[in-house]
């Protein structure tokens, strides 16, 4: 039933971009003083092993909540961020370590559009100058026109005006000499698109490119993007947190959670029948603008955990409604559960005096231990077992033992099962339910 993890070799030849086990870890930015006090160096696991490919001429949607690492993936594709490990291929060429002039040459072929059009435009450059600036930057690449700065300037101006017309930034002659501050939000986003298009790239990364626009303008810009795809055969990596927009525009979508892709496949099928519990949860919370279709929702518990210490096993397991015993339960899951249990005075009773205080518990990998000396270790072990009766079944099953060592209470978990991307029908899913 399980298929092998994606291999780089033997991929379809028409793949324009491929990421292979991409990882990006950022050092946690701390004030100098704290860095001195910190023992280990903390890193944010922004992207933690992402692989996917984009075929030429398709729109791939990368969808996830804020902070899931989708923007980092986008920025890595255009090499604005240096990957920690993994490889990036563009049109068959390994661009992971490209630098200097080669990287500059690459940037003519991959462009990126950011969320905030206002902040993306240099306030001191006129619209025309800003849109044409890429041509000046890559001046040497346009060999013949290089002779005579006057002629090149004329040529640039013509191309800028043409591109402005193409993206609907009209009347282009008037807008040419305006500053970004004088334009409306929709016009600014059109200018940003024009600036990205003027180099005639093959791949366009759109990082939340329409999220900041008002509803009415959003539709227009999306239409423009689809139109450009049809006319120029552009390929898009469309990054968004909005599943509805993604459904409308994308051919395939990839769902990201905490730096990993949990499900990737054809958009229509995923929306019709989501497989991964996280995808299900996400699709479920999209509000439906019809008061007659209200329904009860089963929401994942809690919030997205800290990406400095991502959960073991499947990252979604602490919140997952369909969690199994083998999904990655570990020491701190028990501490979190105990914390929650003790917070409720009705359920907790005198538990805190026997197995508390919660600050006395320490989690290290698969083990949680009570290091503050309880009055009676045996009694504490007994009580932990009683409390566990109320815990989620999957967690109770994942526990290997509750024991006493000298004067320390220890809760030990079974190691989790290895998690792999699995082929399920027409898509890849990373979930033990399907392995």
């Amino acid at each position: 039933m399980s298929a092998p993890v994606v291999a780089v070799q033997g991929e379809p030849a028409n793949e324009l971009l491929r990421l292979d086990n991409l990882k990006v870890h950022f050092p946690v930015k701390l004030p100098f003083i704290q860095r001195l006090l910190q023992r280990e160096e903390a890193v944010v696991h922004a992207v933690d092993g992402v692989s996917f490919g984009i075929r030429a001429g398709e729109i791939l949607g990368l969808v996830g909540e804020s902070g899931c690492g989708k923007s980092t993936v986008g920025r890595s594709c255009v090499r604005l961020i240096k990957p920690t490990s993994g490889r990036i291929f563009f049109a068959g060429q390994n661009i992971t370590k490209l630098g200097g002039e080669n990287l500059r040459a690459l940037r003519r072929r991959i462009q990126i559009i950011f969320q905030d059009p206002h902040a993306s435009l240099t306030p001191a450059m006129t619209i025309g100058r800003g849109i044409g600036h890429p041509l000046w930057i890559h001046r040497s690449a346009f060999g013949p026109q290089k002779s005579g700065s006057e002629a090149f300037g004329q040529w640039v101006r013509q191309r800028v005006l043409n591109t402005m017309r193409e993206v609907g930034l009209t009347p282009e002659e008037q807008l040419y000499d305006k500053f970004p501050g004088d334009l409306s939000g929709g016009q600014k986003q059109r200018a940003v698109i024009a600036r990205a298009l003027i180099l005639e790239p093959n791949l366009l990364v759109v990082d939340e490119g329409v999220s900041m626009l008002d509803m009415s303008i959003r539709a227009k810009v999306l239409e423009l993007m689809l139109d450009l795809k049809r006319r120029h055969g552009l390929t898009y990596l469309f990054i968004t947190h909005d599943l509805a927009t993604a459904k409308f525009i994308c051919d395939r979508i990839a769902i990201m959670y905490m730096g990993r892709i949990v499900e990737i496949g054809p958009a229509r099928e995923i929306y019709a029948d989501p497989k991964h519990p996280y995808t299900k949860a996400l699709l479920q919370v999209i509000p439906i603008p019809d008061p007659d279709k209200r329904k009860e929702k089963v929401l994942p518990r809690g919030e997205v955990p800290d990406a400095v210490h991502p959960p073991a096993g499947c990252r979604f397991h602490p919140r997952c409604p369909a969690v199994l015993a083998t999904c990655g339960w570990e020491g701190r899951d028990f501490v979190d559960f105990l914390d929650e249990h003790l917070s409720d005075p009705k359920r907790a009773g005198d538990d805190e005096s026997i197995v508390g205080p919660i600050e006395g518990w320490h989690a290290d990998g698969l083990v949680a231990s009570l290091e503050a000396k309880p009055m009676s270790v045996e009694k504490a072990v007994e009580r932990v077992e009683t409390i566990l009766a109320e815990a989620p079944v999957a967690m109770t099953q994942a526990i290997e033992s509750v024991s006493a060592q000298k004067r320390t209470v220890m809760v030990r978990f079974h190691p989790p099962n290895q998690l792999r991307q699995t082929q399920v029908q027409d898509r890849l899913v990373e979930c033990l339910l399907y392995q």
Binding site: F32, I33, Q34, L36, L37
Partner: protein
């Protein structure tokens, strides 16, 4: 999570982190005094001494050694607390450190007095100005803040002397003390020493002498306070959490004191750290205007008499004080603001 010990940990780390700053300041002093093109000893004597005396002095002070040897010797001196002996005419042969410690309290007394004046006037003016935005009182106080801050402190001192000492005769124009025997030297601060001795009359005399210099320096500094307090208060009275507190029905007075003012205080305290530079610079000028016998006067006299070890000593002590104060300021900030600590 911050625990009770973390403030101490923070303070210690902060102290440790001040070492590079101290070293840099000491190095700059060293560089200015020796490495700058030209001959410091000759420049100091300014042609008043024959060449052989200059050469001899230079040799005596080890200034003809290679720089790295001088540098090590210099740092060694500072860290053992031995600043050498004076070569100037006033204190010839005496320990530099002893003389400095003798003059230091005068400067400290003046600085404290000025700080009190500056904070009272500055904070009051800043609060009034910041809570009455764009009303006439605000405009007037803003102008006050801007103008008072660029008035030359020595000129202001002269005018105050002219009015309150010469014309009205309310306060003495010069010196730290007069008319009575000096109080016993305990802290060196005459106001404190006289009280320790239980002599109210001495205290009043000391205070009388202190008023004009403190007022002069304090007024100038208050301009800076006014501007900073106002700017930060304006930022916090419009903060989101202030609006939220108002929506919860918290009384207005409490919102100003507990939300706006306290939050505005954090950057003010930080800026206060930079104030010390202005404070000590102003103190030198004020000391001269009022013949206030402190560190500033000592420095001027030492420059006059080409007392090289003394100049170096005084500047190094200023550097130590500045670094020490910056640590204290940061710790105070950590005390007010829980976000700084961990």
């Amino acid at each position: 999570m911050p625990k009770s010990g973390s403030l101490a940990a923070y303070a210690l780390t902060r102290l440790f982190l001040s070492l590079p700053m101290l070293l840099i300041l000491l190095t700059i002093v060293f560089a200015v005094l020796r490495v700058i093109p030209g001959d410091p000893i000759a420049a100091l004597f300014a042609g008043r001494a024959p060449p052989d005396v200059v050469a001899q002095t230079r040799h005596q002070l080890g200034l003809d050694l290679p720089y790295w040897q001088q540098y090590i010797f210099y740092l060694g001196q500072i860290f053992t607390g031995n600043f050498g002996t004076s070569i100037g005419e006033n204190y010839h042969g005496k320990s530099v450190l002893a003389i400095i410690l003798d003059k230091l309290p005068a400067t400290v007394e003046l600085a404290i007095g000025a700080m009190i004046v500056a904070s009272i006037i500055g904070i009051a003016a800043g609060v009034v100005s910041g809570t009455n935005r764009d009303k006439p009182s605000d405009v007037a106080l803003r102008l006050y803040g801007t103008i008072i801050f660029v008035i030359p402190v020595f000129w202001l001192g002269q005018i105050l002397q002219l009015i309150f000492a010469v014309d009205l005769g309310w306060f003495p124009a010069q010196l730290r003390f007069s008319g009575l025997p000096f109080p016993n030297q305990v802290t060196g601060l005459y106001t404190v020493d006289s009280l320790l001795q239980g002599r109210l009359d001495m205290f009043l005399v000391a205070l009388q002498h202190l008023v004009l210099p403190s007022l002069t320096l304090g007024l100038v500094l208050s301009g800076f306070f006014t501007k900073t307090v106002r700017a930060n208060l304006l930022r916090t009275v419009n903060a989101d959490y202030v609006e939220a507190a108002r929506a919860r029905g918290i009384p207005e007075g409490r919102i100003i004191s507990r939300y706006a003012f306290k939050n505005a205080l954090i950057p003010v305290v930080t800026v206060l750290g930079l104030q010390f530079a202005i404070l000590f610079a102003g103190a030198v000028l004020t000391e001269r205007t009022f013949s206030w016998d402190g560190m500033g006067m000592l420095l001027l006299k030492s420059i006059d008499s080409a007392d090289y070890p003394m100049i170096q000593g005084v500047i190094v002590v200023y550097a130590l004080i500045i670094v020490g104060l910056s640590v204290i300021i940061d710790v105070i900030n950590g005390l007010i603001d829980p976000r700084v600590r961990y």
